[in-house]
C-alpha cells in the first residue's frame, strides 16, 4: 500500500471538515467505547488478565524464532505447508506461485490487514486471478476502491446511505435502505463467489505453536467459508502472531473480542488445523501458511519490541481522541490510531511519517485500554526522541526547546524573561483579559482565545509577600 503519511496535517484539515465522516465517527463512542466498558466487567480480574496476556506475548517474543519453528513443525505434521516471507513482495510472489501451482482462477478472501501491507489483491489481479473480498466491510471497500480506515471495522468511515448508493450503482439493483436488506443483497452477491472460489485467503489472529493451527475470529461467517470451501486455503499473518499453547489462546480470547467490539466472544472462532482428511466432509485439500516479517523482526530486541505484543483489537484507536476526530485514512498507511502511529514510522521510516508520533496529546487513553499493556504513549515519546536524535525535528522546534531548556536552568534569566513576557501579554489582553492573537502560536489562536496572564508572576508576588 502506498504511504501517504507525509500529508498527515493536510489530511487532518480535510477530515475535520468532512461532515459525512464526522457523522460516521460519532458512532465510535457508543459502539466501541461504551461497548467495551460494558463487557470488561464480566471478567472479575480484568487487570490481571491483561497482565497475563502481556506476559504470554512477551514469552513468545523472547524466543520468537523457536516458537515459529515449533509452530512450523506442528503445522507441517498436520499437512500444512509453511512459507516464510521476508517482505510484502515475497508474500505476493508466494501467493501467486501457489495460485499458479493449483491452477487458481478465483479467490475468495476474508479480512487480512497484513495483505493490505503487501498490496496482495493488486498483485493477484495483475497475475490474472480474480479476487473477491468477502468480509462485508472489505467487500464494500473493494467496490468503492478505498482502503480500510479501521483495523476491525474497515468501513467505519462510511454511512449506510453511502453504502446504499454504492450497492445500487455497482450491483445494478434497486436501491435498498435498510441494513438487513443491504446485508442480504451482499450475501446474495457473495454466495456464488464462495462457491466458485478455487482458493481462499485468510489472515490469522493467532498461530498456535502447540497444534500448528491458525485461529481466526470473525462475526460474519465468511471466514469459515473462505477457509473450508475452496480446495486451497492460504493463511497469511505476521510472525508475531504465534502463541505457545491453546491455554494461552484462551486467555487472549477473553480479551480480544471484548477489547475490539465489546463482545464477550465473536460469533465465530475458527481453529484451522491441517488439511482435509479422508474422513472429513469439508476442509481444504491444500493448506498453506505464510509467515510474514515485513519489518517486524527489526523491532525485536529494541525499544519498540513491546509493539509486537499487539493483537490488533483496535481498542487504542477506538479510545483515541485524535482517531475519533479524524478517522483512519488521515494516518496514510495500513494501520491508524496510536498503534499505527508507532507501526507506520517503524515500518516505512520515520522520515516518511514525521507527524504521526507527534499527533498525540499523550493522553494515555490508548495505553490503559490496550489488552496486552503495550505502553503506547511511551513508545510514541520514544519515537519523538528518535526524531530528535536523527535531526528530523524542525529547526524552530529544536530552537524553542533549546531556548526553553537553557532558560529553565538559569532561574534569574528565566524569572526576568517570564516577568517581561507576562507583563506584555497581560496588557495585550486588555480589559477583556483575553488574547485573540499570539505571534508564533497561530495554531492556538486560530480557533481559540488565550486567557491573558494575571500580570505578575507567582515568583514576584511571593517575594513581595515575604518582604511585606
Amino acid at each position: 500500500m502506498q504511504v501517504s503519511s507525509i500529508h498527515f496535517k493536510r489530511s487532518v484539515t480535510e477530515k475535520l471538515n468532512d461532515e459525512k465522516l464526522q457523522n460516521a465517527l460519532s458512532r465510535l463512542q457508543t459502539r466501541f467505547v461504551e461497548g467495551r466498558a460494558a463487557v470488561i466487567g464480566e471478567i472479575a480480574d480484568f487487570e490481571e488478565t491483561r497482565t497475563a496476556a502481556a506476559a504470554i506475548r512477551d514469552r513468545v517474543l523472547k524466543n520468537l524464532d523457536q516458537w515459529l519453528l515449533h509452530f512450523e513443525q506442528q503445522a507441517i505434521a498436520r499437512g500444512a505447508l509453511v512459507h516464510w516471507a521476508e517482505s510484502g513482495a515475497d508474500v505476493n510472489r508466494i501467493v501467486t506461485e501457489i495460485a499458479t501451482l493449483h491452477n487458481v482462477r478465483r479467490v475468495a478472501k476474508s479480512k487480512s490487514m497484513v495483505t493490505e501491507e503487501c498490496g496482495l489483491n493488486e498483485a493477484l489481479e495483475h497475475a490474472g486471478v480474480e479476487v473477491v473480498e468477502t468480509d462485508l466491510g472489505e467487500y464494500i471497500l473493494q467496490l468503492a476502491h478505498e482502503a480500510p480506515s479501521h483495523i476491525v471495522a474497515p468501513v467505519v468511515h462510511k454511512n449506510k446511505e453511502d453504502i446504499a448508493d454504492l450497492f445500487a450503482e455497482k450491483h445494478q439493483l434497486p436501491r435498498k435502505t435498510g441494513i438487513p436488506e443491504l446485508c442480504r443483497e451482499a450475501r446474495e452477491i457473495l454466495r456464488p463467489a464462495f462457491l466458485a472460489a478455487d482458493m481462499g485467503i485468510s489472515g490469522a489472529n493467532f498461530l498456535i505453536a502447540e497444534t500448528g493451527s491458525a485461529l481466526i475470529v470473525t462475526n460474519e461467517g465468511n471466514g469459515r467459508l473462505v477457509t473450508t470451501l475452496p480446495r486451497v486455503h492460504v493463511a497469511i499473518t505476521g510472525i508475531e502472531k504465534v502463541v505457545p499453547t491453546l491455554e494461552d489462546v484462551t486467555t487472549l480470547l477473553r480479551l480480544l473480542p471484548r477489547s475490539a467490539t465489546g463482545q464477550s466472544i465473536t460469533n465465530y472462532v475458527s481453529m484451522l488445523t491441517g488439511t482435509k482428511d479422508a474422513a472429513d466432509h469439508d476442509g481444504p485439500e491444500h493448506f498453506h501458511i505464510i509467515l510474514v516479517d515485513n519489518g517486524r523482526s527489526s523491532l525485536l530486541g529494541g525499544d519498540m519490541q513491546s509493539m509486537l505484543r499487539c493483537i490488533r483489537c483496535g481498542a487504542c484507536m477506538n479510545h483515541c481522541p485524535v482517531y475519533q476526530n479524524i478517522g483512519g485514512h488521515a494516518y496514510g498507511w495500513v494501520y491508524p490510531g496510536p498503534m499505527g502511529s508507532i507501526l507506520t514510522p517503524t515500518f516505512v521510516g520515520l522520515e516518511n511519517a514525521p507527524d504521526l508520533p507527534n499527533a498525540s496529546t499523550l493522553c494515555g487513553a490508548c495505553g490503559v485500554v490496550c489488552p496486552v499493556k503495550i505502553p503506547l504513549p511511551d513508545l510514541l515519546r520514544q519515537l519523538r526522541e528518535k526524531q530528535m536524535s536523527l535531526g528530523l525535528k524542525s529547526w524552530q522546534e529544536k530552537l524553542a526547546l533549546k531556548l526553553w531548556g537553557w532558560m529553565a536552568r538559569r532561574p534569574a534569566v528565566y524569572a526576568m524573561v517570564i516577568k517581561i513576557t507576562v507583563r506584555i501579554l497581560h496588557f495585550a489582553g486588555g480589559k477583556e483579559r483575553m488574547l485573540h492573537h499570539l505571534p508564533g502560536a497561530s495554531g492556538w489562536t486560530a480557533g481559540r482565545d488565550m486567557p491573558a496572564p494575571q500580570g505578575k508572576t507567582f515568583r514576584e508576588l511571593y517575594r513581595q509577600r515575604k518582604l511585606s
Binding site: G364, E385, R448, F458
Partner: protein
C-alpha cells in the same frame, strides 16, 4: 511536615492565584510549606518533545531544590505525573541518581491527591456556590489515578453541586506543544469538551491542570460563551481572596 510547593511554570506565569490557593490549602491542612525560589520547570515540555537530555537536567535541578522536603506537591496532575512516573524512567540507567530520584518521586503528589490521601484534609475554606463539572485531566487520571479525590473534596463544600458531564475523562486537546503544532485538531478536541460542558449546564468547569483550563477557557470564549467560569480545583477549594 515540610511540604515543598512546586508551583509549575504555567501557574507561575499565567495564574499565580492558583499557586497561592494551593499554599493556603496546604497551610490550612497543617503543613509547613516551603517554596524553593529557584524552581522553574519540571522538564515535561522537553521530555514530551523528545529532548530527553534537557528533561534530565531539569529533573536534577528539581531534585536538588526539593530533596530536603518530606513531600513535593504540585497543583497539576501532569507535572506531578512527570516527577512521579517519568523521572525514574529518565534515570533508569543511572543507579546513583535513580535511587534519589525514585525516593523523591514517591513523595510527590498532585494537590487534591495529597489533601485527600496524605493529610486527610476535609475542611476546604472556599465558598463557591453553584453547580460545577469536573474535567479529569489526562495525566492526573491515568498516570496518578486521580478521579475520586477532587470530587471528594468538592463534596465537602456545602454550596457546591457537582454535575458530571459526558466524556469527562476524554482529553481536552491541550497536550502542550500539540495545541500549537496540531492547532485545528486540538481546537476540535477542545470544542467537543466545551459542548459537553455546556450540555451539563453548570456555572463552572473545574480541573486540576492549568494547561487544560487555558485550552478550555480559550475555546469557550471563542465560541461566545462568556458565562461559564473556568476554575482550578485549588481556586474553588481555597477561595480567591487577596491574590488578584
Amino acid at each position: 511536615m515540610r511540604v515543598g510547593l512546586f508551583v509549575t511554570c504555567l501557574v507561575d506565569a499565567m495564574r499565580p492565584r492558583i499557586g497561592f490557593a494551593s499554599l493556603r490549602l496546604l497551610e490550612a491542612a497543617g503543613c509547613q510549606v516551603v517554596v524553593p525560589e529557584n524552581q522553574t520547570c519540571c522538564g515535561q515540555p522537553g521530555y514530551n518533545s523528545g529532548d530527553r537530555e534537557t528533561a534530565k537536567t531539569l529533573a536534577l535541578k528539581l531534585l536538588d531544590e526539593f530533596e530536603t522536603c518530606d513531600y513535593v506537591v504540585a497543583p497539576s496532575g501532569s507535572c506531578a505525573g512527570m516527577i512521579r512516573v517519568h523521572y525514574p524512567d529518565l534515570f533508569r540507567d543511572d543507579p546513583t541518581v535513580l535511587n534519589r530520584i525514585s525516593l523523591l518521586a514517591q513523595r510527590t503528589y498532585e494537590l487534591a491527591d495529597f489533601l485527600v490521601n496524605v493529610v486527610k484534609f476535609d475542611a476546604a475554606p472556599g465558598h463557591f456556590a453553584g453547580t460545577l463539572t469536573y474535567h479529569d485531566s489526562c495525566s492526573g487520571l491515568r498516570e496518578l489515578g486521580i478521579r475520586d479525590q477532587p470530587r471528594a473534596l468538592l463534596a465537602t463544600m456545602p454550596g457546591v453541586t457537582v454535575k458530571e458531564m459526558a466524556e469527562a475523562t476524554t482529553c481536552c486537546g491541550f497536550g502542550g506543544a500539540f495545541a500549537v503544532k496540531f492547532g485545528e485538531l486540538s481546537t476540535r478536541m477542545a470544542d467537543n469538551k466545551c459542548r459537553h460542558i455546556e450540555a451539563a449546564g453548570v456555572d463552572a468547569i473545574v480541573a486540576g491542570d492549568l494547561g487544560c483550563l487555558l485550552n478550555i477557557e480559550g475555546r469557550l470564549r471563542r465560541r461566545g460563551n462568556h458565562t461559564t467560569q473556568v476554575l482550578h480545583i485549588a481556586e474553588v477549594l481555597a477561595g480567591n481572596e487577596g491574590d488578584d
